[in-house]
């Protein structure tokens, strides 16, 4: 029942609703509302996040990627170091299902290599008589799982005495696919650790400077200025010079991560600081202060969340920088060294015109980089939306 309206311009009649009225009646909560009100904030965010399809897919993809690096040895058809001197610079092999019109299951044709002594190129051709069926959950190249346990169990292996180079081989005849899978270990972690370091520093230092202002700010600003003034390459070179050479590759890797993180926080700190300089004048900050909140709490719970979108965007944007930042180091001969590998190293190794002209499959490590970066960004989008109270 609704209040009637008089025709346009006509005088208004006194209308009184006759529906029963109980001031205490509160509309009963629906089951949905009950669930929502009891939920924790994280839960709420998860619900909101779930609605973002692409973010969800990205999240699952990343999760899978991180799971994959745990069992890289198992997933990779070959060992990281396995070389095939007879299959140097072999182009990718196509996985086929049908041979002579008959379903054989996944297989590849055997390869024959000829040396073209005129151009000094290796010419590969498929030998269509040689059907090499792939094996699954099989025993193949031996490896040391996590460097600890000897094993030789693989998800997929080439036929006995056959080859399977899904993404081709490099200049030492190593399987590109396997190397990409192994490289994910470093590439997927270096970024996160680096970002964790740089974001912690950036937010804490920038936050304190921005929130407190005054002399603290002045000092912090000068430190940032000084750090920013030195282009990163000389800094890397200098830091790499300090890094003890007797370090194991793993330590070097950690060192590099930390270096990347240590050098990356300044920009963020400045952004945080200048944003906080403005935000700290808001009433809700004052309110928190008057409640007796410490600066850490004010920065962490009130100010930084207001800046979350920026932080998420910055973080997702920094990830490629971290994954690839190490390539710049490798480029200068300062980065990771074999036996460790990473996507960055794989790409650095591919840096020549001949690769682009003749062996483009060596550039395939770019694909996981792109996928991961896209995934992180969409994930970031989803997180942003989930944290956005207006959604």
């Amino acid at each position: 029942m609704t209040a009637p309206l008089p025709p346009p311009g006509a005088p208004l009649q006194h209308y009184v609703s006759t529906a029963p009225f109980d001031p205490y009646s509160v509309e009963a909560m629906t089951a949905g509302q009950a669930k929502v009100y009891q939920a924790s904030q994280l839960r709420l965010m998860w619900w909101k996040f779930k609605k973002h399809r692409i973010a969800l897919i990205s999240g699952i993809f990343l999760l899978a990627a991180y799971l994959a690096i745990v069992v890289a040895e198992f997933l990779a058809p070959y060992n990281l170091h396995t070389r095939n001197m007879d299959f140097i610079h072999a182009p990718p092999q196509r996985v086929r299902m049908f041979h002579d019109g008959q379903l054989v299951g996944p297989f590849v044709y055997g390869r024959t290599m000829e040396l073209d002594m005129e151009t000094l190129r290796r010419v590969y051709s498929d030998n269509t008589a040689d059907v090499q069926r792939l094996r699954f959950f099989c025993s193949g190249d031996p490896y040391k799982f996590w460097g600890l346990w000897e094993a030789s169990f693989h998800l997929v292996c080439p036929a006995k005495d056959g080859q399977f180079f899904a993404l081709g081989t490099d200049r030492l005849g190593r399987d590109v696919l396997s190397r990409i899978i192994y490289g994910a270990r470093i590439s997927l972690t270096i970024g996160l650790i680096g970002i964790a370091v740089s974001f912690t520093l950036g937010i804490v230092i920038g936050g304190l400077a921005g929130y407190h202002g005054g002399y603290l700010d002045l000092m912090v600003q000068r430190v940032i200025e000084v750090l920013q003034s030195i282009p990163s390459i000389p800094l890397w070179m200098a830091l790499a010079a300090i890094m003890p050479v007797s370090w194991s590759p793993i330590l070097v890797y950690l060192g590099i991560t930390v270096i990347l993180g240590l050098l990356d926080w300044t920009g963020l700190a400045r952004a945080v600081r200048s944003k906080l300089l403005a935000l700290r004048e808001e009433d809700y900050v004052l309110a928190a202060q008057l409640m007796g909140a410490k600066s850490s709490r004010i920065i962490g719970r009130h100010l930084v969340p207001g800046f979350m979108s920026h932080l998420i965007a910055s973080a997702t944007i920094s990830i490629p920088g971290m994954i690839l930042g190490e390539t710049a180091l490798s480029f200068l001969g300062l980065g990771l060294r074999p036996p460790i590998t990473s996507w960055g190293i794989l790409l650095t190794e591919a840096r020549s015109v001949s690769v682009i002209a003749f062996y483009p499959w060596l550039l395939y490590p770019m694909i996981p980089v792109i996928l991961v970066i896209l995934a992180f960004n969409f994930l970031g989008d989803g997180l942003r939306d989930a944290a956005d109270p207006y959604k």
Partner: protein, 630 residues
């Protein structure tokens, strides 16, 4: 009178919000209309969907909202009828209407202005968009408008930033912004909540004038039934998104039909209330005060020093900027607070009233040490001895924070936009490490209950609440710690009278049960009258009069107090405001005051004169006390 058409006709308007856990129907099939040149008042409980309706008229609902029904706007200039809901979201058609044909005063003026642009810029911008004017013309027009809404120095206000203005001043800037294009329809969402009664009267007058001169119609959303009685032609009463009662103002006031409306009328605080009389709220929520706030028994028993807080001679001035970026301030700084002294006794409620922009908020912030005074002292007399508020550090300060709490004038900006209500309310407890996560959740739920908000809102963010709901959240947060002194800066301005009654009763109960002390800042004199034991009147940074409630209300001495009392609107059709007297008197202008209260030319400054019975008044230092008595 009947011009043949409604200026605005809302038919079957329903508005709902898509939220996690199901949608919220904020407005259900509402019908209402505004006649040209007439005022339709929309009254209703806090959270009943008034603001949402007003937003839908401008097509500025948030993205999550969806509206259905018809909103017909009949532009008297062109004579065409447009269904606003059919227009494209931000298309040229709707843009031509917004700001020019329909002006809107937002409920929360504090946050509705951009912090990065000057007031002048934001106000004159409307002209830039809709009128073809030169820069100078725009400036002139803006200055004039600012003056009309009560800025004493409009040129100065023109270049000020919103954060430099007091709450009332921002509201006036907002009004100026809405009116500057002389719209055919003004949607005023609680336009005078932050204004003292004299300025409120001035604004109401201005609106009336515009109404007459330009045939401006108005959709007035307000909780102040006094204002309704004074300006409205038709009234629509809305409750939970549904229209409960509608009719001409006469019918509504003289023959209220619906129990809700009757309840509203009954809940209005009035000046003739007997001591100890309670307001009749629509809903009574039983409160176990000590349990709610977790206050220890000892505190209730132990009396402590009589004076809780003493303020001596505090002064605060702000620099004035010239328009240029590089120029140094060359005018004398403005004294926002000028030599204010007073005491707050334990367990009392000290009312603080005064002109908008006179420094009330500044004073209260100084008590909290949110603003550092230029000079003066503030001492908090704790049970364990006095604490110098301005000097306290570390642990002492932390303890003090727990003992003095504040309800902010602007509820929107004082709530962290990215925290849910639950987090907001439990935060003070977390900071002071009270209780366990579970007990905190209980406390929070209980708090929600006493302020009349449903528990199901716990996981919502502040922006999704109505103005009044947010204000209550602010109150609940201030109460959470069970402070000894609660500073309330306009705590109920956004609440309808029934909820207001509920909240005021709660505060009273707490005062009674726990001996809470209040500094109660309000423009609503009836509320102050109901709450306060003593009342201080501020004007231009000074306390001009301070007296126990009865004395001040019945026998005010200071001319400013008198004019304040004279400007109170009553929710009674038989006691209309006399706009003609109000027009002439600029109540806060010292020159309009009688001689003993003016600063004279031969160097006699002003000093506080004691009239006995705790009645203090600011008068010329050589004035005779008897002379001051009326």
């Amino acid at each position: 009178m009947i011009s043949g058409a409604d200026l605005l006709r809302i038919e079957d308007l329903s508005i709902s919000f898509a939220m996690l856990g199901g949608q919220i129907d904020a407005v259900k099939k509402a019908n209402l209309r505004v006649l040209p040149g007439r005022v339709t008042a929309l009254v209703g409980e806090s959270g009943s969907g008034k603001s949402v309706i007003s937003q839908s008229i401008m097509r500025i609902l948030p993205k999550v909202a969806s509206a259905s029904g018809r909103i017909l706007f009949n532009d008297p200039l062109t004579g065409t009828e447009t269904d606003i809901l059919r227009l494209s979201q931000d298309g040229p058609d709707i843009r031509a209407i917004r700001g020019r044909r329909i002006g809107k005063i937002f409920q929360e003026p504090m946050t509705s202005l951009s912090p990065l642009h000057t007031i002048g810029d934001q106000v004159s911008e409307v002209l830039t968009i809709h009128e073809d004017m030169s820069r100078d013309e725009r400036y002139e027009r803006t200055i004039e408008m600012l003056r009309m809404v009560g800025f004493a120095k409009p040129e100065r206000a023109f270049r000020m930033y919103p954060f430099e203005l007091s709450g009332g001043m921002r509201q006036r800037a907002m009004i100026a912004l809405a009116l500057i294009c002389r719209p055919a329809l003004l949607i005023a969402d609680e336009p005078t909540t932050a204004l003292d009664v004299t300025i409120q009267a001035q604004i109401l007058r201005l609106l009336k004038d515009l109404q007459q001169e330009f045939n401006m119609a108005m959709l007035l959303i307000t909780h102040d039934l006094g204002v309704v009685a004074n300006v409205a032609d038709e009234v629509v009463v809305i409750y939970h998104g549904e229209v409960m009662e509608a009719g001409p103002v006469e019918d509504i006031f003289r023959r209220p039909g619906h129990p809700y409306l009757k309840g509203l009328m009954a809940a209005v605080p009035h000046f003739d209330m007997k001591p100890g009389e309670r307001l009749k709220a629509l809903r009574e929520v039983p409160v176990n005060a000590s349990h709610l706030l977790g206050v220890s028994e000892e505190r209730q028993k132990e009396p402590g020093p009589d004076i809780l807080l003493s303020v001596r001679d505090v002064t605060k001035s702000y620099k004035i900027r010239k328009s240029g970026f590089f120029r140094r301030p060359d005018e004398a700084p403005v004294r926002a607070v000028d030599g204010v002294s007073f005491d707050i006794r334990r367990g009392e409620c000290l009312g603080l009233v005064g002109e908008s922009g006179c420094g009330k908020t500044t004073v209260s912030k100084m008590l909290m040490r949110a603003v550092t005074p230029d000079s003066g002292s503030i001492v908090f007399h704790d049970r364990n001895g006095p604490v110098d508020v301005l000097e306290a550090e570390g642990d002492q300060l932390q303890k003090l924070r727990g003992k003095i709490q504040m309800v902010f004038q602007d509820p929107v900006s004082s709530l962290s936009p990215r925290m849910t209500v639950q987090n907001i309310l439990s935060e003070p407890l977390e900071i002071h490490k009270r209780g366990t996560p579970k007990s905190r959740l209980e406390t929070v739920s209980a708090l929600m209950e006493v302020i009349g908000l449903n528990r199901r809102y716990l996981n919502r963010y502040p922006h999704s609440f109505s103005g009044g709901q947010r204000q209550r959240i602010g109150i609940a947060r201030a109460l959470a710690l069970g402070p000894e002194l609660l500073i309330c800066d306009e705590p109920v301005s956004a609440l309808d009278v029934s909820v207001q009654a509920q909240i005021l009763n709660l505060l009273k109960d707490l005062q009674k049960d726990l001996g809470l002390t209040y500094l109660f800042i309000s423009h609503n004199l009836a509320v102050v009258d109901y709450m306060a034991d003593r009342i201080a009147v501020m004007c231009a940074g000074r306390i001009v009069e301070l007296a126990p409630r009865e004395i001040l209300m019945r026998a005010p001495v200071h001319p400013y107090t008198k004019s304040l009392l004279a400007a109170v609107p009553f929710p009674d059709l038989d006691r209309p405001l006399d706009f003609s007297t109000l027009k002439t008197a600029n109540a806060s202008d010292m020159r309009n005051w009688s001689a003993p209260f003016r600063q004279d030319d031969d160097g006699h400054g002003l000093a506080t004169a004691d009239l006995g019975e705790g009645h203090l008044v600011l008068a010329r230092s050589n004035a005779d006390v008897r002379e001051l008595r009326p």
